[in-house]
């Protein structure tokens, strides 16, 4: 119980950090009345969007809550509710801080770059810490209630099912928030640019563009709320899946509870190191913003190694203790510590690789900029080439991670590595949520007509924001892929458990089931193929949705220009609210069907194959499809997010004065590449993450429901 209390205390530290930092941010100067007016419009739009999004998810959520309560009992349904509500809360609070910090960042940038960085990063850190803290608290407190309050055994099915449902609640928010937010933000961005930059010839963030507020709203609902929901989910499902594996592998052993608490303890310890990391973010004498952020990340990472070592001593008495799982695998507590360190190393490597592929100092981005000189076509060709190529190094890192952690700790070792990777989520989300704040700050500076040097400071912050957004996306997809592998391991372990314990009185559905997961079973091949299809089809649908939403924005802006000719002359104000409102409706409508694809496919697949070939093959097909989703999803998502980031920065590189600079033909080609990259990196690519995870978690729930038949 002491361990649990300490874990919860760690989570509460994150919440406390959030409260203190929100107060600190809100105390800052909010700028002129004009700036506050603009920021108010952004905040209003963002809240209106999130309200409608949550209302829509709420309807789906209520149906699922009732279904879960009916099939699996009220404790499981409450787990689902906790996951959904806390994930929503993290996104909602974080975004509300974001839309208040943007204007304060712009104002702080009027005096110094360091001041702007301070406000922007702190507001991002609020979101980050809330994501990690609330996810940890949700799992830890509900687990405490279930095992202490309700007196259930830690490894009992009811506890496992309730925790899996908690992950599912987070997943549900995640898939909708990622996709809806992504469609909103890129519909606004692409549509606004098309009609503003291309047709009307006005710059980005020009207040005469009726879509400009929507564009700034989009940054918040997409990058802030969407990313928060995504990583909340990965965090929650990874911790839960690791606990499920612990419950299966160590059932009946005295070490069981310590093993189940290990992922929670790592999470809790790393919240403290992440908080410490935030205090290391200080602009040095060289004025390098990225350098300041990396200082914080490295501090958090190095401290985490020590913190996890302490956890090892506290739970296992050091590094020499040997364990044996129910499946006969042996490893030591030192091996598990090694896995955690490897998890941190994977994080570091993915950050470095992503920066290489999306940073303006390296070959990939420069090659796209160079190819822009010969036109739109060659820019896009080179961008696609880079996007395909960028999958290789992350894949090799992930493979090396799997092989080394499996050698050290078997499947449980892989799970611990992913847990450690995600333990830094608080800090990493802080880096990402920093992006929309600085982006907004630049927009507000532009719209409010602040002096040029303010805009220069916000631009510098914004450029770093682009890199941190790309880096976070690399981390998000890498961790989602590995987290999904842990979920997949949980699926096979769970399935084996049900089959082994099936009898007349329990798990009757699994009596006599034998599942052949071998690659020579054609149903495994079929599962891999159908699972592998999901990310392609899903990404295609997401791209189409952005195209449609952007088209709607174009129509709306054209209509406003036509009906109010004074807008372009600056004598009439555009109706920003209508554009926001229209996009809100479009994004919510467009997110439904693609979201259902990964949600329903494991269920439909199971029952279709069961009808064709029976239970055994249905379990094999669904299992293989989970791995198929992970496999192609990883590549599709990495290629889209890295490629999109590279396109974006190739444009920035040209704008910095290379190949003819702004306004040159190369720049025009680079703008095309950036437009293509927008839905790639901010809608389709990131939305593949929750798609990967949700198919896996649904499959786990399906097993639980079948076990109750």
């Amino acid at each position: 119980m002491t361990a649990l209390l300490l874990i919860i205390l760690g989570g509460l530290c994150a919440v406390a950090y959030g409260i203190v930092t929100i107060r600190d941010v809100m105390k800052r100067d909010a700028g002129t009345a004009r700036m506050q007016e603009i920021a108010g419009a952004i905040a209003e739009g963002a809240q209106a969007y999130l309200k409608r999004q949550y209302a829509t998810i709420g309807i789906v959520g209520i149906v699922l809550f009732v279904a879960l309560a009916y099939f699996l009992g009220i404790k499981v349904a409450i787990g689902f509710l906790i996951g959904a509500v806390l994930s929503g809360a993290a996104g909602f609070i974080g975004m509300n801080v974001s839309v208040r910090a943007n204007v304060r960042t712009a104002q702080a940038a009027t005096t110094s770059l360091g001041g702007g960085l301070d406000v922007a990063f702190k507001s991002g850190a609020v979101t980050g810490m809330l994501v990690a803290g609330l996810a940890l608290l949700g799992v830890a407190i509900y687990y405490t209630y279930l095992t202490r309050g309700a007196g259930l055994a830690p490894a009992s099915r009811e506890v496992i099912d309730a925790l899996v449902a908690l992950g599912f609640g987070a997943s549900l928010i995640s898939i909708f928030a990622r996709l809806g937010g992504g469609i909103f933000t890129k519909g606004a961005d692409v549509g606004g640019d098309l009609v503003g930059k291309v047709e009307a010839g006005i710059p980005e963030d020009d207040p005469r563009n009726p879509a400009t507020i929507a564009d700034n709203v989009g940054d918040n609902v997409g990058d802030c709320a969407g990313m928060a929901a995504d990583l909340f989910e990965t965090y929650a499902v990874t911790v839960v899946a690791t606990m499920v594996l612990a419950a299966i592998f160590f059932a009946g052993q005295p070490i069981l509870e310590a093993m189940m608490l290990y992922p929670l303890a790592i999470g809790s310890a790393c919240i403290l190191t992440s908080i410490a990391g935030t205090y290391a973010v200080k602009l040095g004498a060289n004025q390098s913003i990225m350098g300041a952020l990396y200082k914080g990340l490295i501090t958090a990472g190095v401290l985490s190694i020590g913190a996890i070592a302490i956890v090892n001593f506290a739970l296992f008495g050091g590094f020499g203790t040997t364990f044996k799982t129910s499946t006969g695998v042996t490893f030591t507590s030192g091996g598990l510590f090694g896995c955690a360190v490897i998890g941190l190393a994977i994080t570091a490597l993915i950050v470095v690789i992503t920066e290489y592929y999306t940073g303006t100092n390296f070959r990939p981005v420069k090659s796209i900029a160079q190819s822009s000189v010969t036109g739109h076509g060659t820019n896009v060709i080179q961008g696609l080439a880079i996007s395909l190529e960028s999958t290789a190094l992350p894949a090799l890192v992930i493979v090396a991670g799997i092989i080394s952690t499996y050698a050290l700790g078997g499947l449980f070792g892989i799970a611990i590595a992913v847990t450690a990777m995600l333990a830094l989520a608080g800090f990493i989300v802080a880096l990402d949520a920093f992006g929309p704040v600085t982006d907004n700050a630049g927009g507000i500076a532009e719209m409010a007509g602040l002096p040029a040097d303010v805009r220069k400071a916000t631009d510098a912050l914004d450029a770093v924001g682009n890199t941190t957004k790309a880096v976070t996306k690399g981390y998000a997809i890498g961790s989602a892929g590995l987290g999904a592998l842990v979920l997949f391991a949980a699926y096979t372990s769970d399935l084996n458990y049900f089959i082994a314990n099936a009898s007349d009185t329990q798990y009757r559905f699994f009596r006599g089931v034998t599942v052949d997961f071998s690659l020579s079973n054609p149903y495994v091949v079929v599962g891999l193929l159908l699972g592998g299809l999901i990310p392609f089809l899903f990404a295609g649908m997401a791209m189409t949705a952005v195209g449609r939403a952007a088209g709607a924005v174009v129509e709306e802006v054209r209509r406003q220009f036509r009906e109010k000719p004074g807008i372009m002359k600056g004598t009439d104000r555009p109706d920003y609210g209508r554009a926001v409102d229209m996009l809100t409706r479009a994004a919510i409508k467009e997110m439904i069907v693609p979201s259902l694809l990964p949600v329903l496919s494991p269920i439909v697949l199971f029952f279709v194959i069961q009808a064709i070939a029976g239970k055994n093959e249905a379990f094999a097909t669904v299992g293989a499809s989970l791995l198929g989703v992970i496999l192609t999803g990883l590549y599709v998502a990495i290629s889209m997010t890295s490629g999109g980031g590279a396109w974006d920065n190739a444009k920035k590189y040209i704008e910095d004065g290379h190949h003819g600079g702004k306004g040159s033909d190369a720049h025009k080609a680079a703008v095309t590449g950036d437009t293509v990259g927008d839905p790639y990196k901010d809608t389709a690519g990131p939305a593949v993450n929750p798609a990967i995870k949700i198919t896996n978690i649904i499959a786990l729930l399906l097993l639980a429901i079948l076990a109750h038949q």
Copy 2:
């Protein structure tokens, strides 16, 4: 022996058809001196390219020949030689007919559309029949020699190894020809367009553009020789893999030889039906070119059902005979017939689906054309969305094919379905090789200044050529994916065979090996991930190579314009030869490294994993990597070829007068999409096919070499 003789007779019919048709085509009027001069330059460039390509492959080939002779004996090395030489011959002869038929097509089109169609289609049919005929003859005659002449038992390892090596010979030509030809053709196309259309403002095929001959050469070396090598390979490896499966499944049974001959007999019978189909290609009263081609395809398909039924009676005495494999699976000869019919149905469905995604009459192409109205960016976004979406239906067809044929005939049933699918390769390649001939005919008409109505006829033929090229690519990737699955089945069956028969005296390497191909083995996951990476990385490298080759073309053309200002005025002739020569060197250089990726990866992977984790995991990882390549390769290749075809035809659709027609802003955006689609559909996408197959065949050879240790 009678059966074998009849099979060989069928193959000889294809060769006879080729000879007769070549004579027929060569008799046609070759047009004016100017036309012949242009055609001569194209022919010269194409031959120069192929010579250098074969010389380069020859060096690699000699090394491999010696290595195979050393490791596996001279009979195996000779098998390799046969595969390589015949594949090269099919491509070389076919291309030489193509570069003579182009000018005759242009000349025939001066009198009638039907005349042009007749010449173009017949010359394509020569390539098609040579591909199917030579592939069949190579396998059948060498098998006859090995089992009759050399007196080896049909199921002996030496026979199997020699046949697999024959497939490998074809693979080697295929990967280089696909990639080198693809880089050449799209380097010329993209580079020529960039500097001609965009910079100098001259139309496509303008004789003043120094890259215009290279562009026409590219059509022949890419679409004709490259596609021929690709399908020769799929044909050969599928037939061989099916025979290997038959040898393993029916070893020691009286039915063994009939089962091994079954795929050959299906191939032979369908050569006859394909020839019959070519005679059904006649322009009807409605002047529909596509309709005429489909008449031929449908005729060939329907006749094939009957022909395969006859084969069933000849080999198995009807549909009711029951067989049992050594692995305990039972099925009937009627079931196998059903599998063959399903194979034909898959072909038909893939043709229909590809036409839907790439034809100008349907939603996908129209949506890309529509999105061109709002600019380059939205054109590319919608094109990418369609390319991703287009993977879904083919995947579902393939999955349905796997499930149904497995139910009817187990793994062998799947192999028979793919065999039947490929039995139509002769006719399908004819459709594809038709494309470059009409494309060239249009170019010659333009360059020779023929009257506008001739150009209109060749344009009509060319538009159909675009569709048939896209359709053939869909078929090529679908069959390659399924063929690779058969190869994968051969890998696992072969591996099991070696393990089961390992002793002190034979297959010593496999003693005590137990391979866990289950998805819960992390090395299987690692294999899937690493295999899945290959198509992404390979496609990225291919795209980059095209970009570089196109850049070199731009430089060369700019240099010529600069040094000879008379070119643009029409007073000086460009040096076409230098552009061809330069591209030849660039394409050959660029094809080497990407080609080695799929060739070396199974070998490197095996030895690296063996060093890390031992033999068992090495076999599991390599096996899983084969399936990983198939899985992502299928999706990457389908999305690229369909997406590229859709972009191409969206441009054509706009040129037909929609959305403002030629010269409008929408058209400019569509040209960008077409440029992006070029390397997608003609280089990277199609080159993934041989990459999929060659990894699988290398793995089979690796087993054979290890068995000889």
